[in-house]
């Protein structure tokens, strides 16, 4: 017996359904995990579904949780479009959050300017953090997967140092940054929910990035650079500049995700301000098959997993970490589905020929 792989082509319709197939496959695997934890998978999924989408509170909570995933997913998407492997979304979210928290606590700024300044500062901080590995890659050929990933840890420990140093609460001793000013809190546009300005920005960003990728010369340039840098160079495109801009845009989007968490949810920097949104963004972009329109369902899926798993762990004895497992399994399922869509793999018995 041996494995034989041959290439095949699939239709556009099949292609569009691939992520759904992958998600279904990951749900089946997770059902096994839930059963292993001693709960009925059907009941558990039922709890998750109603906790994520059942009613106004559940639905808006899922949307609010989806916001940072949407932005982080867009950040991964624009970087991956130019084949700049930005694994540094987590660090860029953290510097964005820190910049927003720092601006948001400034009494010296006029109150109406606080929110816009927080957003701009967070975007600049994220972009600046992405500029470093991008420049290293373009000037010196330093592998960005390593440099962006390592920067995440540096930023995280710098943040921890701040939280247990200058930002530590002098009274309680908690490792949280000072609260931002009330005027710096993002306005909530639906009373009684957590749908704040950051959520609106996230969904608007999907439209903006989608239009940019489809309709602008910059969007097309990014695609050309990502698909074939040599052809891009021959066509007269400035490959380095386009890659750098994409990296800066990616960092800025991640930074804004951090600002949203500070301005709309936590109102301060806490140690778990991001809790993996940066990495989850890569999953979102892959589930979305690198299309802007796909970002929203992909982010909603992951957000629903976390809100749902929260509730499920409360009602059953399945631990919350099942959400992380499902996230990982769904990513692997999508990658496998993408590979299987291109190759047909068969087991075949070898017939020995008379000459060999």
């Amino acid at each position: 017996m041996r494995l034989v792989a041959s290439t095949r082509k699939i239709s556009r319709l099949q292609n569009a359904f691939l992520p759904l197939v992958a998600v279904a496959a990951s749900l089946v695997i997770c059902a096994l995990l839930i059963a292993l934890a001693g709960a009925n998978p059907i009941t558990a999924f039922g709890i998750m579904l109603s906790a994520a989408f059942g009613g106004k509170f559940a639905l808006t909570e899922t949307l609010a949780r989806a916001a940072p995933l949407v932005l982080s997913g867009l950040a991964a998407l624009v970087a991956l479009r130019t084949r700049f492997w930005n694994i540094g979304g987590e660090g860029q979210i953290l510097v964005g959050a820190m910049a927003a928290a720092w601006i948001g606590a400034r009494t010296s700024l006029p109150a109406p300017l606080l929110v816009p300044c927080m957003l701009v500062a967070a975007a600049l901080a994220g972009a600046a953090l992405a500029a470093l590995p991008a420049t290293l890659k373009l000037k010196l050929g330093v592998d960005e997967v390593v440099s962006t990933l390592m920067l995440n840890f540096i930023v995280m420990y710098v943040m921890m140092a701040l939280l247990s140093g200058v930002w530590k609460d002098p009274v309680t001793g908690w490792t949280d940054s000072p609260d931002i000013l009330p005027a710096a809190e993002f306005p909530v546009f639906w009373r009684g929910t957590r749908l704040h300005l950051g959520v609106l920005i996230a969904f608007a960003a999907v439209v903006a990035i989608g239009v940019m990728l489809q309709r602008t010369t910059f969007g097309l340039s990014m695609k050309i650079v990502g698909e074939n840098p040599k052809a891009a160079q021959h066509a007269g495109l400035n490959v380095s500049r386009i890659t750098l801009f994409a990296a800066l845009l990616s960092g800025a989007l991640a930074g804004i995700a951090g600002a949203g968490e500070v301005g709309g949810t936590q109102f301060q920097v806490i140690a778990s301000i991001s809790s993996g949104y940066g990495y989850a963004g890569i999953v979102v972009a892959m589930l979305a098959r690198l299309s802007a329109a796909g970002i929203i369902p992909a982010a909603l899926f992951l957000a629903a997993l976390t809100t749902g798993a929260d509730e499920m762990s409360r009602q059953t004895n399945v631990p919350f970490f099942i959400a992380d497992a499902m996230q990982g399994i769904s990513l692997i399922a999508v990658l496998v589905a993408m590979t299987l869509s291109r190759y047909e793999i068969k087991f075949r018995t070898v017939e020995r020929t008379p000459h060999s």
Binding site: L220, I224, E227, Q233, H234, G236, T353
Partner: protein, 511 residues
């Protein structure tokens, strides 16, 4: 020897890709010691058939017999163990390894160790038997293209190939090297090896083969003994179904100097002590043919003039204006178009639709975009009109370029670059891998462009083409232009000499 059992028989081979029928019940036979020419336009199904034979594709229907026994070829390993050897156009040898190491790749070895003694012995047998000699200790990257091809042939014989498939073997060789290849093939033939010789060059097929099989649209349309009744016209007619029209260059009065490269030193030669300075002038309405064995700096020269590679020294001007710090974009703006040899690698983004690729170098300018916004309507109408004018098939602007045939890719890139009436066109290997009608089309486009006053630099490994189209000819050798002459004063022999590094003018003077 024709009374013997054929060494290879393909019977009723059918292969479809989706709705496209690549091979429709194709039958082909090769006897011991027979050289069979396989001719056909692009998309005629030659490559598909050979890929089936070599285990890269599986046939939907049909049988393969080797020496009378039906065989099942599912992988290249099956094909090799059956004694089928393939020599592809571009060598797939490991370039950092030596000749001997490449030959030992994939051999079983002895007790888990490489069997050098066996390999050396076998190499000597092949050298003595067929005159195919190669130093086993040389690193492949130091071999010339012709030597690499010899390595591929030796490698096939090493595995005791009884059928040898050569896919366009002469396209990378000088005329002298081609002669060497032919004499090696004749001695293989005398030893009973069956050979399938795939080529677009009709005169070579007529010179070397015993029998010629012509394919058209997936079917065998002719299977003829190569005798005196076979002419290039009859073959070409069988290939494309109608009589071909050969593009004729009509001498044309040239205009003023247009493209001038002065004292240009190629980047790759910068480190050399005596780096050659290239001086080159192409007049308006003139085609300069650049000949040379591939790898002698033709690509570097083209890329340097096109702004893709930086010159180590020297300047380039168009119509008298020196272009400062040449970049691809600056050269485009100065009126230069460049069609690289590597169409899929450098000329297109193969995953993107044809319409996007039709504006790859122009979408940042009006009318295709304004203030950064792309006008997809304009892009689509431009793509449609160029597709219609240049008869690019299939005429589907949404088709990813990578799924189109080589000939149509070349038509598309010519359509793209000629759409904006360039002042200077640099085109490398314009007809490589193209079929007869596509070649005529591309060549006619070049002549028309020349007559309209464009300066054209034509880089080609196909000497026939250089002689057919050029007004002047320049030969490159080791990064410099070793010889330049009006086409009327060039002969195939003198150009061949220059390609090997000796200046014919000096050689003749000495003689």
């Amino acid at each position: 020897m024709s009374d013997q059992i054929p060494v290879l028989v393909l019977s009723g081979i059918t292969k479809t890709f989706g709705k496209t029928v690549a091979n429709s019940s194709v039958s082909l036979e090769v006897k011991r010691g027979e050289i069979v020419g396989l001719l056909g336009e692009n998309g005629a199904g030659k490559t598909t058939l050979m890929n089936i034979l070599f285990g890269l594709y599986r046939a939907d229907e049909g049988k393969v017999f080797v020496e009378g026994n039906e065989v099942n070829i599912a992988t290249t390993a099956d094909a090799i163990s059956l004694g089928i050897g393939m020599v592809q156009q571009h060598s797939h040898a490991v370039s950092r390894h030596t000749v001997l190491e490449n030959l030992m790749l994939g051999l079983p070895g002895k007790n888990g160790f490489l069997d050098r003694a066996f390999a050396l012995n076998r190499l000597k047998e092949i050298a003595d038997g067929y005159g195919l000699r190669l130093d086993p200790s040389r690193v492949v990257s130091t071999l010339a293209v012709g030597e690499r091809q010899r390595l591929d042939i030796i490698r096939a014989l090493f595995r005791r190939a009884r059928v040898l498939i050569l896919d366009e073997p002469t396209s990378v060789l000088t005329p002298q090297e081609t002669e060497g290849l032919f004499s090696a093939l004749r001695s293989l033939q005398a030893d009973g090896v069956g050979i399938i010789f795939i080529s677009h060059k009709l005169n070579e097929v007529m010179a070397i083969t015993d029998r010629i099989v012509v394919m058209r649209r997936g079917k065998v349309v002719a299977d003829v003994v190569n005798d005196k009744t076979v002419t290039s016209v009859t073959l070409a007619t069988m290939m494309c179904g109608h009589e071909p029209d050969r593009v004729q260059r009509i001498p044309h009065t040239r205009g003023d100097a247009c493209l001038v490269a002065s004292e240009v030193v190629l980047q790759r030669d910068e480190a050399k002590k005596a780096a050659h300075k290239i001086n080159l002038t192409i007049h308006s309405g003139e085609i300069l043919g650049v000949a040379g064995v591939s790898g002698n700096g033709q690509v570097a020269l083209a890329e340097t003039i096109a702004g893709v590679a930086r010159a180590a020294h020297g300047s380039i001007s168009i119509d008298g204006d020196i272009i400062e710090n040449p970049s691809p974009r600056r050269m485009q703006q100065a009126g230069l178009s460049y069609i690289p040899e590597d169409r899929i690698g450098a000329g297109f983004v193969s995953t993107m639709p044809l319409k996007d690729n039709m504006v790859l170098s122009r979408f940042s300018y009006p009318p295709f975009s304004r203030a950064g916004w792309i006008d997809w309507g304009k892009v689509l109408s431009f793509a449609e009109s160029q597709i219609a004018e240049y008869d690019v098939r299939p005429p589907d602007p949404q088709m990813p370029v990578g799924l189109m045939s080589g000939g149509n890719q070349q038509k598309a890139i010519v359509a793209r670059e000629l759409a904006f009436s360039p002042r200077v066109l640099i085109i490398a290997q314009p007809t490589r891998g193209l079929d007869v009608s596509a070649i005529a089309f591309v060549q006619r486009s070049l002549i028309t462009l020349r007559d309209a006053g464009c300066s054209i630099m034509l880089i080609s490994d196909d000497l026939d083409e250089i002689f057919q189209l050029s007004d002047r000819i320049a030969v490159m050798y080791e990064g410099s232009i070793i010889w330049e002459t009006p086409i009327e004063q060039a002969t195939v022999a003198s150009v061949g000499l220059a390609m090997n590094g000796s200046n014919p003018a000096l050689t003749e003077a000495r003689a």
